[in-house]
């Protein structure tokens, strides 16, 4: 069953066509890779799928419902969460508060309950605190709950992004270059985490990445973009052999440099 379907998605901005008639379909439980040379429109496509941009043409469906043009925060409530290329964090908050803030939005019992402290709200607050700690441990940041987000290392920041993304209990997670700027061991750790997100939590994943090793290892299905259009769509083996893809990248597969 297709969880997410984009049909004929196009984005034009002042004469530039960043995304051109893109159609793709992601099944529940998949780990989908979205790759392409720089400027291919991958982040723009993400922006279209997550309400940051409105498509000029085309529609997006999620779990059978048409979500075209819905704003980001509404999509989060539907279960679509996205992380960013440049880590977006509540830099002044602790790791714990980052995750707790994201949890609050979804499990609160109402404005007035927040003002008055009933035993019910207290129990809910405790439950949320527990869940925040769980999530933090799951991504591997256990022990760092009190660290200020802004002071974390780059790798930990990217882990925190994932933790914050997990708080709204997403069914679909769109990861924009999760291993960008990470060293080898951290890349492995991140990709293992991504895998477990699907294996353990059942979250469908779509990830944009330049690191071919990571993509080939983890993704079962890969979509390739170039100049805003889909040029190939299939299994890693098929993609690796596709002459159009090889031409688009010109030697990236031979040259095994991590991004």
């Amino acid at each position: 069953m297709a969880l997410l379907e984009a049909s004929g998605l196009t984005h034009r901005f002042g004469g530039l066509v960043a995304v051109n008639d893109v159609t793709l379909s992601v099944n529940a439980g998949e780990i989908r890779g979205l790759i392409g040379p720089n400027g291919a429109g991958k982040t723009t496509l993400f922006n279209l799928l997550t309400g940051v941009l409105r498509p000029t043409e085309g529609r997006v469906r999620f779990e059978e419902a048409d979500i075209t043009g819905e704003p980001t925060h509404r999509l989060v409530r539907r279960g679509i969460v996205r992380t960013y290329q440049l880590s977006q964090l509540f830099a002044g908050f602790t790791v714990f508060r980052n995750v707790l803030s994201a949890l609050h939005v979804h499990a609160r019992s109402g404005f007035w309950a927040g003002l008055l402290e009933t035993p019910a709200t207290r129990r809910q607050n405790d439950a949320q605190r527990e869940r925040a700690l769980e999530i933090i441990r799951f991504v591997g940041l256990g022990g760092r709950e009190e660290d200020i987000a802004g002071s974390l290392s780059h790798g930990h920041k990217r882990l925190l992004q994932i933790a914050v993304g997990l708080a709204p209990s997403p069914r679909l997670l769109l990861l924009d270059e999760p291993v960008a700027g990470l060293l080898h061991e951290d890349v492995d750790r991140m990709m293992a985490l991504v895998q477990s997100l699907r294996d353990v939590q059942g979250i469908t994943i779509v990830l944009v990445e330049h690191n071919m090793q990571a993509v080939m290892r983890v993704c079962e299905h890969i979509t390739v973009l170039q100049f805003g259009s889909v040029i190939a769509d299939g299994s890693p083996a098929a993609i690796g052999a596709d002459p159009k893809v090889i031409e688009a990248y010109l030697g990236v597969f031979e040259n095994d440099d991590a991004a």
Binding site: T72, H73, V76, G92, R97, L100, R108, L115, S151
Partner: protein, 332 residues
């Protein structure tokens, strides 16, 4: 949401409250009560502006909402003969109702443009009340606004009932704003300040939240305006000016932004200083202008922030990354 604060702080606050309540019994000088009332009005507006400011929105037209509240009370009590106690809730409601569409439209623009719209709004309100002498009094304003009932209690000779009324309204305002700022909603506001993009990405309706904050700030400004009208018995466009809006902002800048203590401290200090030095009119403007510049250059964290930093240095060990924006639990 927060666990009980540390015992010394609770004790201090209790002592302060007791002092405030007992003040008229200990002091008979009407002038002192008058100054306390001025402080109360300023605290009310400053604190509500602060709540809005958490989201990063500064409204340069709060005086406009105050004026609307004051005008509502003036017209209802003087022209329509309503009792003040009925006029008061309406004077909170009307500015809030105006703030909803104004806020929604203003929030469509970002950054500087928002500030300019609020500035323009304040001027438009002022201008409209100034232009139409009937029923708004024009430049002459409205005088002889009746005091709250019972009139025998709220006479011009005895400031004590006014003092207690102002104290009650101020405490309610501060209390509500404080609770909200420490609640999950308050955390949403702080989150928006940290990163609007991430806030939206975790499901926060950023424009909607900002609008709520904007309307709440207008509501409390209306309450302060209503009390102003009843206490001073005279309102005019010469009072609720752009300078007045900026004054409230100066309270927050000088007092500090990081916690609710900031606007309170700022309002107290900057109400007392002009009174102590008998500054009026242009001299007060001059002083405030200089104070604003000095504060932004030399003490950007404000008095409350400087005090907090001072205490932190003395009490805690200097681990890196210990400071954080205030609000929720798990911190002292």
């Amino acid at each position: 949401m927060s666990p009980g604060r540390t015992s010394p702080t609770v004790a201090w606050i209790a002592a302060l409250l007791a002092g405030l309540v007992a003040l008229p019994l200990l002091v008979s000088d009407a002038y002192i009560l008058h100054v306390m009332i001025l402080i109360g009005i300023n605290v009310m507006v400053a604190v509500s502006m602060w709540l809005l400011g958490i989201t990063g929105l500064i409204s340069f037209g709060q005086a406009g909402f105050m004026f609307i509240g004051a005008m509502t009370t003036a017209l209802l009590t003087k022209s329509a003969g309503w009792p003040f106690w009925l006029a008061l809730p309406l004077s909170a409601l009307v500015p809030a109702l105006v703030a909803a569409p104004v806020g929604r439209l203003s929030l469509r623009v970002r950054g500087v443009y928002f500030f300019l719209v609020t500035l323009a709004f304040g001027q438009v309100v002022n201008g409209i009340f100034a232009y139409f002498q009937d029923p708004f009094g024009g430049w002459y304003g409205i005088r002889d606004i009746p005091p709250p009932q019972p009139a025998t209690l709220f006479t011009t000779l005895n400031k004590v009932p006014f003092y207690y009324l102002c104290l009650a309204l101020t405490l309610i305002t501060v209390g509500v704003v404080y609770r909200v700022s420490r609640s999950w909603f308050g955390n949403v506001l702080w989150s928006i300040r940290e990163s609007e993009l991430l806030a939206a990405s975790v499901g926060i309706d950023v424009p909607g939240t900002k609008l709520i904050a904007f309307v709440v700030a207008a509501l409390f400004a209306g309450v302060a305006g209503s009390f102003y009208a009843a206490y001073f018995a005279y309102i005019s466009p010469l009072v609720f000016t752009f300078e007045y809006s900026v004054n409230m902002l100066i309270f927050i800048v000088v007092g500090g932004f990081a916690s609710i203590a900031g606007p309170i401290v700022g309002a107290v200090v900057l109400t007392l200083v002009p009174e102590m030095f008998r500054m009026t009119g242009k001299y007060q403007l001059l002083a405030f202008g200089l104070i604003l510049i000095l504060s932004m250059r030399l003490m950007p964290q404000g008095i409350a922030g400087a005090y907090a930093a001072f205490r932190a240095r003395r009490v805690r060990s200097s681990l890196p990354g210990r400071a954080q924006s205030p609000g929720m639990d798990r911190e002292t």
